[in-house]
């Protein structure tokens, strides 16, 4: 099998599974139980939090374990909106956010909030001037993703952080689900108040994630209950998931340090090979993330290509944004100003550190063959 859909999810690392298994079997007590067995579980929870904090270079009480990216984004956006609505009801985000950000904002609009959706240029990047101009007295939140899940375009979140710092009354949330472990992002002194990470995108398990919440940032919780996770996210801690997530974070950080150049090299190779195929257009911006390649093959329904490749045990994805009027149109590519031919025929190839050049070679040959085969049938 050749798996090239790592932005959708990744294969759990063997070591991550082992951690999960061990914790599930050995430390299944509820960390809130007052008996010694609960005490041990609580210690492990503390140790996990400490480790996560060290990896992110933040403080232990700034880590909130979640069930993943969607929950992290919802908690951050609705949490800020509900807590600080007395101060203002204006939110700034972009037109190319993940649905968990976009839909949260749309939901808040129904509750009387106003949202500015910043446009992007042909590279899928917002303009800092647009952002500055959008900030009003009653702006309470800026939510901008770090790396786009469809195109791999990188937003200037460091710069946005500097702008956010000049407005102490508003909070800045970064969805780093696609960026973590591939595109470095420093949290300390960054102006970033909230940051979402997901476990299953970094070879961890589904249902695990972290929301970084700066200690000076107050949130209205989505889950009330037993006051776990600094009362931001009640619910008995998924300790095995938490420990496995921290393991996944450590492993991907190690690999990022050692292998990000190689990953970039693979992406460049892939781009070169794809450019050489007739009828293939590259949608990914030049300086995008090292693991996402987005292409269009106008005239061929992307699903057809997915199925032809699938028969050969090669897995890539298409982005059909269900929320758009036109079935199959990628809203994100449309936002980048691409024409309809391109936006309705997009394919996404997303890499992991484990992929090899040989796999990419096989994939490129298969894709070229699939395109040829399709054209022959149609003619």
């Amino acid at each position: 099998m050749i798996y090239l859909d790592n932005s959708a999810t990744t294969k759990p690392d063997e070591a991550v599974l082992q951690s999960f298994d061990q914790v599930t079997k050995q430390f299944y007590a509820n960390p809130s139980s007052i008996h010694q067995f609960g005490g041990t579980a609580e210690k492990l929870l503390h140790a996990a939090k400490q480790q996560a904090a060290e990896i992110l270079q933040v403080e232990r009480n700034e880590i909130v374990f979640t069930s993943g990216g969607t929950e992290g984004n919802n908690t951050a956006i609705k949490g800020i909106a509900l807590e600080h609505q007395g101060r203002g009801k204006h939110i700034i985000t972009s037109v190319i956010e993940h649905p968990s950000v976009e839909e949260s904002c749309i939901a808040l609009e129904k509750l009387g909030f106003t949202v500015t959706y910043l446009p992007v240029d042909e590279n899928g990047v917002i303009s800092l001037d647009d952002l500055k101009n959008a900030i009003q007295d009653d702006t309470i939140l800026i939510s901008i993703m770090h790396v786009n899940n469809e195109t791999g375009s990188i937003q200037p979140v460091e710069e946005i952080g500097k702008i956010a710092k000049q407005h102490p009354k508003l909070f800045f949330h970064v969805d780093d689900v696609q960026g973590f472990g591939k595109v470095p992002l420093e949290l300390p002194n960054s102006g970033i108040d909230l940051c979402t990470i997901s476990g299953h995108k970094i070879h961890g398990l589904k249902g695990t994630g972290i929301l970084y919440v700066n200690k000076h940032t107050k949130l209205f919780p989505l889950f009330h209950g037993g006051d776990q996770e600094q009362a931001i996210r009640s619910g008995t801690e998924n300790l095995a998931g938490i420990v496995s997530m921290v393991k996944a974070m450590r492993l991907i950080k190690d690999r990022e340090k050692k292998e990000v150049k190689a990953l970039n090299g693979m992406k460049e190779y892939l781009l070169d090979e794809l450019r050489a195929i007739e009828g293939v257009f590259i949608n990914t911006p030049i300086d995008g993330a090292p693991h996402i390649v987005n292409i269009s093959v106008p005239g061929i329904k992307p699903e057809v290509i997915i199925h032809i490749l699938g028969e050969r045990d090669i897995y890539i994805s298409t982005k059909s944004a269900c929320s758009s009027k036109q079935k199959d149109e990628s809203k994100i590519l449309a936002a980048c100003g691409l024409d309809n031919d391109r936006t309705t025929s997009a394919l996404r190839i997303s890499l992991a550190y484990d992929n090899t050049r040989e796999e990419l070679e096989t994939f490129v040959q298969a894709l070229a063959a699939a395109i040829t085969q399709f054209r022959e049938v149609m003619e």
Partner: protein, 400 residues
């Protein structure tokens, strides 16, 4: 160009007379100990100055460690260059550009080396002009600048510093002898320990543990608190006293309203004995006038009566909120408020005497012989050493 050393300015110890040397040597030892983990980073001294030589190491983490060492008035990142005007200009510009949040500056030249060809006033102007022309949006303010770029022309070299970061003040830990801190796990006692250390005290701790009434978590809490305090010292010995039997006896044999007073007297007796064994000359407590029943003037009088050791009570005149603020600042608050039972919370009399009478206390104690239980408690003491370093985890290894 990068910062190559940290300049350390002495705090109160600079007022010492003939003894100053001991204080300086102690401070150097304490600093050296704190930066052990950074290879090639060294502490050196010249006349009236202490430097931490970075040898290419990133200054930030080293600075963070040094900031927690008592005895320092302030610290500045500094650059050492030859007595050459071009190098001095470059270094001054670097220092200004690397200072955070700066809108205004001033240059302050000290020309100790009178052979240096350019005079002080002229040098001020030359450097000021150089900084102004090479930066944007930064202006000169000689009265209240955001940052003072200090240039010291000494015989051997020129030193350039920018922002001074305040240290913790106080005296180097270890210059004021040893004290035994009664550490309960609450908010107050760690703060008392911190403040004693600030005055140069080398701390050991004693904790009264009453299993099964109190849990392993309560004990761990005290170890964690001590560990937090070691950020300001090298290590802290914790003496954990098995207190269950003695406590049960007190509450069984003594009148309820006096049990708390007598329990505290027992703690002082045991603490004094431990001090004797460890050559410690004083006790430190988190007691505070009027906060709880054991801390009224009458209670303190009755409790203190069992020892003639000096008792350091750094919090005696503080409001609770002030104590909480310090505990947050030193990072013990979060651990302190964990809701585990400790020996002071399990046997709580319904109405403890807030005004115990010494004659009564002595009489009640004389009706029962606690000697054996006190000896047993002391014999059963477990001593743990908390260090300022990451613990090897317990059975969790490999999970992360």
């Amino acid at each position: 160009m990068q910062y190559d050393h940290i300049l350390i300015r002495y705090g109160e110890m600079s007022l010492k007379g003939k003894n100053i040397k001991q204080f300086i040597i102690k401070l150097q030892e304490n600093l050296q100990q704190k930066i052990k983990e950074f290879p090639n980073v060294k502490v050196t001294r010249t006349q009236g100055r202490m430097f931490v030589l970075l040898n290419g190491h990133d200054p930030e983490p080293v600075m963070e460690k040094c900031k927690k060492v008592f005895g320092i008035q302030s610290l500045s990142l500094a650059i050492k260059v030859d007595n050459d005007i071009e190098q001095i200009k470059e270094a001054a510009l670097f220092a200004l550009q690397n200072a955070k949040d700066v809108k205004t500056f001033k240059v302050a030249v000290k020309r100790i080396n009178k052979n240096f060809p350019i005079h002080t006033n002229e040098l001020n102007q030359v450097l000021g002009a150089h900084l102004l022309t090479n930066t944007d949006g930064i202006t000169v303010d000689v009265h209240n600048p955001d940052v003072e770029v200090k240039v010291e022309i000494r015989l051997e070299a020129a030193y350039i510093t920018s922002k001074a970061v305040l240290g913790l003040g106080g005296l180097p830990v270890g210059t004021s002898g040893k004290s035994l801190l009664l550490l309960s796990g609450g908010i107050d006692s760690p703060v008392a320990g911190f403040l004693a250390m600030k005055r140069g005290v080398h701390l050991e701790a004693i904790h009264f543990h009453s299993p099964p009434y109190t849990s392993e978590r309560a004990k761990q809490k005290v170890i964690d608190l001590s560990k937090q305090l070691t950020k300001y010292a090298k290590s802290i010995k914790i003496h954990i006293v098995p207190f269950t039997k003695l406590q049960q006896e007190i509450f069984r044999e003594m009148p309820e309203s006096y049990a708390m007073t007598i329990m505290r007297r027992m703690m002082f007796r045991i603490a004094e004995q431990v001090s004797r064994n460890e050559s410690i000359l004083s006790l430190t407590t988190g007691e505070n006038l009027g906060q709880v029943a054991s801390q009224t003037m009458e209670s303190m009088h009755a409790i203190n009566n069992v020892t003639n050791y000096p008792i350091i009570r750094p919090l005696v005149a503080m409001d609770k909120q002030e104590v909480i603020d310090i505990s947050k600042q030193i990072g013990t608050y979060e651990t302190s408020i964990l809701p585990y039972e400790d020996c002071c919370t399990i046997f709580v009399p319904k109405a403890p005497k807030t005004k115990p009478r010494l004659d009564k206390v002595s009489y009640y104690e004389s009706t029962y012989d606690f000697t054996k239980s006190i000896e047993e408690a002391i014999a059963g003491i477990e001593t743990i050493v908390a260090h300022d370093r990451k613990d090897a985890d317990e059975g969790f290894s490999g999970l992360f």
